[in-house]
């Protein structure tokens, strides 16, 4: 599909899609961290995930985009919504006494990390990021991913399944009622 996009309207369309998706990504991200009500934050996250899926499509990673929508938006966020609903409506209290020193320090730290990452990337990568490799049509397709999982990265595949199993068990334990022996 990416080849079709590239071939048809040229760069302009790609750029436009990228800008829209990028903007909505950032906007929804800011929305996630800003809303008082967690329900709205979860909804904003869905928006973020959708724009990211578009980004993945632009990067010729079709399977990953599909998985993103299915897993993240379809399962993870739904889980969040379940728990938010279970926990009940509660607004987080507004900050008392304004931002504290720790909060300021936190903001600064996050900002510094951000700047550093950008600087590091641009410095370190240098010219390397200039030339992209060409990819064939099969790149990013399910068959491609499937072959990689089963041939080159079989161990990662198996370990991931184990991690998922452990998480499932953990979730069940955490969520279960613990019957106490009454002394």
């Amino acid at each position: 599909m990416s080849v079709v996009l590239a071939a048809s309207a040229g760069n302009v369309v790609v750029w436009m899609v990228w800008l829209v998706a990028g903007f909505s990504c950032l906007a929804s991200g800011i929305a996630v961290i800003s809303f008082r009500n967690p329900f709205f934050s979860a909804l904003a996250l869905i928006g973020n995930l959708a724009s990211l899926a578009v980004m993945y499509l632009l990067l010729s990673a079709e399977f990953v985009a599909a998985a993103q929508v299915l897993v993240y938006a379809g399962a993870v966020v739904v889980m969040f919504l379940f728990v938010i609903a279970y926990v009940g409506p509660r607004q987080e209290e507004a900050w008392k006494d304004g931002p504290r020193l720790q909060t300021l320090g936190a903001v600064l730290a996050a900002g510094a990390l951000l700047v550093e990452v950008i600087v590091a990337v641009s410095l370190a990568a240098g010219n390397d990021l200039g030339h992209d490799s060409t990819v064939g049509p099969v790149f990013g397709s399910p068959s491609y991913i499937g072959r990689l999982f089963l041939v080159d990265h079989l161990l990662a595949f198996e370990i991931t399944s184990v991690v998922l199993l452990i998480a499932a068990v953990g979730g069940v334990i955490l969520g279960s009622h613990v019957k106490r022996e009454v002394p």
Binding site: Q102, G105, A106, A109, A110, A112, L113, E116, V117, V119, A120, L123, A124
Partner: protein
């Protein structure tokens, strides 16, 4: 021959081990007899070794003198195993059986055996009798190791062990502070001598890579190095033999039981210094100046000790100063080169000095522990056997013929004059003056204690012991034996006429030619010393018995003598007081605040630091994440800068 020497050495050690391991399972009597028997067995071993060497000696004499064959010193060196091996420096666990060591073995085990037998009676009833007998057997073993040691290291081991035994036995009655203090004083002063000896041995190792007795005759040392070695050895000898300036420990050592004083501080340990000079004479001859200094020390000590003995009031102290004085004679003899004369005097001195101590012990025992001679007048009437034995010892000490002291002392004094130099004559005069002093203080003691009517104290406190009234047989028999030896022991040698003793030692410790007096000189000297001794006796009789002459009133001199020439006070001021102040200061400044408090302080600091660090554990998620982020930012920054 060598089996005899091993038997001699190990028998007392076996007794020590048996008594220590047996503990209270042995009765006190059993421990005492085990100890005594072991020393007599050692004596048997010594006799065996002696005859072995004698056989070789006879052959040597024959071949050396009659056939002019190459002479090899008789004796045998026996090695148990190599004890120390470092590079090309090897030292073996060696025993040397030669004429000199057999003489010492016989004296130590023979006189020692008699004294240990005596102490069965003396220490009877003491609650810690077993410990005493273990220690005294250990001492005999150590002394035998010293004299039988086949190389300088074994000698040093024995040297150190006798110092240890001396410390243990002086402080035997450890509840008495004075005894403990005396033991410490003896040990510290001996340790000084040990240190100088060790330094001398280090120099020898550095030059020769060996400590066998043969290196002493080597020619690889410059005169100054030889001087240092000899000086180190002399330091050890002076400390061990209580000569000036390291003499202050010997009178204090009288705090120990009387048999200990007899054995260690009269007959054997304190004579180890003389033995050392005789054994290492080869190096002393290379350092002739040091050897003459040794003679000078001996001359000085014999006068000083004799003077101090004039004012002593404790019976044992008089005899102790007398010992110091007589060892001065031995040092004088060995120092000028008349080794066999010095050794002969060592032998006779062992007889009569042990005798004097043991008779003093009989008196002390009879008077329930009293040692002040001013209270003891008239003891001879109630203790005749003691009186006659003491008299024999006293006459031997002064050097009246035919008692043993006469034969040995005079040859020493004659040898000094034989040198012909100015200091030789000075030493000669010192020797004669010493004989006068000896007569004076010895018979002062005799006249104050034995003749006349019993004093009130004696009448009140004296009580009879044993079947013969003066003590048990275990005490009387050794005294009797020694009285006989003190009388006839000197007949072994009279230099002008017959000298088997010197011939016996001629391979091990040949007399220097310079110190061989002519027969005329010998006769003149003998006459002079006997006259001086008789003069001293007469003076003592006049002052103390007949009271015809008053004691000269010289308060300054009296104070000088009573304070022992202020040696003790000087050492106290020079060494003890600063060291004591330093240790108190160190304790106050370093030990208490730093070392004792250091542990608790460290703990407290750790707790405080933990308290500070604890504040980071706020329990708040956001703090932790903040630290994560800040840390990550810092790290990335560092990486960027590094790149």
């Amino acid at each position: 021959m060598t089996a005899g020497s091993w038997l001699c050495l190990l028998s007392p050690l076996a007794a020590t081990i048996v008594i220590l391991l047996g503990g209270t399972r042995l009765t006190r009597r059993a421990a005492a007899w085990i100890s005594t028997a072991s020393v007599f067995v050692a004596f048997g071993g010594a006799v065996w070794a002696f005859f072995g060497v004698h056989a070789q000696h006879v052959i040597q004499n024959y071949s050396c003198i009659d056939f002019g064959l190459r002479c090899q010193a008789p004796g045998e060196l026996t090695t148990a195993w190599t004890w120390l091996a470092s590079g090309n420096f090897h030292v073996g666990l060696q025993l040397l059986v030669d004429p000199l060591s057999t003489v010492m073995m016989l004296i130590v085990s023979g006189v020692g055996g008699l004294i240990v037998l005596y102490s069965i009676g003396y220490m009877d009833g003491d609650p810690e009798e077993r410990r005493y007998f273990a220690y005294i057997a250990f001492f005999v073993f150590s002394m035998l190791m010293l004299v039988e040691g086949g190389n300088l290291l074994m000698l040093l081991v024995g040297w150190g062990l006798v110092g240890l035994s001396s410390y243990l036995l002086i402080g035997f009655w450890h509840e008495r502070t004075s005894a403990v203090r005396a033991a410490k004083k003896a040990f510290v002063m001996n340790a000084f001598g040990d240190a100088t000896m060790a330094l001398a041995l280090f120099i020898l190792i550095a030059h020769y890579h060996s400590l066998s007795f043969g290196v002493l005759g080597g020619s690889g040392l410059s005169t100054s190095t030889a001087n240092w070695v000899a000086l180190g050895l002399l330091g050890g000898a002076v400390a061990k033999s209580a000569q000036i300036p390291l003499q202050t420990w010997l009178p204090d050592a009288m705090e120990g039981p009387t048999p200990v004083s007899a054995l260690i501080h009269a007959a054997t340990m304190v004579t180890a210094g003389v033995y050392l000079i005789a054994r290492t004479h080869a190096i002393f001859e290379q350092a002739r100046t040091i050897e003459l200094i040794a003679a000078g020390i001996g001359a000085l000590t014999l006068l000083v000790a004799g003077l101090i003995a004039l004012v002593q009031t404790d019976i044992k102290r008089v005899i102790a100063y007398s010992t110091m004085s007589q060892i001065g004679y031995m040092f004088l003899g060995a120092g000028v080169g008349a080794y066999s004369s010095g050794m002969f005097h060592l032998m006779t001195h062992a007889f009569f000095k042990a005798l004097l101590f043991m008779t003093a012990g009989l008196a002390i025992h009879a008077l329930s522990g009293e040692q002040d001679i001013r209270k003891m007048r008239g003891l001879g009437k109630v203790m005749p056997f003691t009186k006659w034995c003491f008299l024999a010892g006293a006459l031997a000490l002064v050097g009246i013929p035919p008692f043993s002291g006469f034969f040995s002392k005079d040859s020493i004094v004659a040898a000094t004059a034989a040198l012909g130099t100015w200091y030789g004559w000075v030493f000669w005069l010192c020797g004669i003056a010493g004989a006068l002093l000896t007569g004076l203080y010895t018979f002062r003691l005799w006249f104050l204690v034995f003749p006349g009517e019993p004093s009130a104290f004696v009448a009140e406190h004296h009580h009879k012991h044993g079947r013969w009234g003066e003590g048990p047989w275990t005490m009387l028999v050794p005294v009797g034996v020694l009285a006989v030896l003190a009388t006839v022991g000197g007949w072994l040698q009279w230099s002008p006429l017959w000298h088997p003793f010197t011939k016996w030692l001629q391979y091990a410790a040949p007399t220097l030619a310079a110190a061989e007096p002519s027969n005329t000189l010998e006769y003149v000297t003998s006459a002079a010393t006997v006259l001086a001794g008789v003069a001293g006796i007469a003076l003592a009789w006049a002052i103390y018995a007949e009271k015809r002459v008053a004691i000269p009133q010289l308060p300054a001199v009296q104070r000088l003598l009573e304070n022992k020439f202020y040696f003790d006070a000087a050492y106290d001021r020079l060494f003890y007081a600063p060291a004591s102040a330093l240790s108190v200061a160190l304790r106050r400044e370093i030990e208490e605040p730093v070392i004792l408090q250091g542990g608790p302080d460290l703990g407290q600091t750790t707790l405080d630091a933990g308290g500070v660090v604890r504040r980071i554990q706020t329990g708040l998620l956001r703090t932790y994440v903040f630290f994560l982020a800040a840390g990550a930012a810092a790290l990335v920054l560092a990486f960027l800068i590094a790149k």
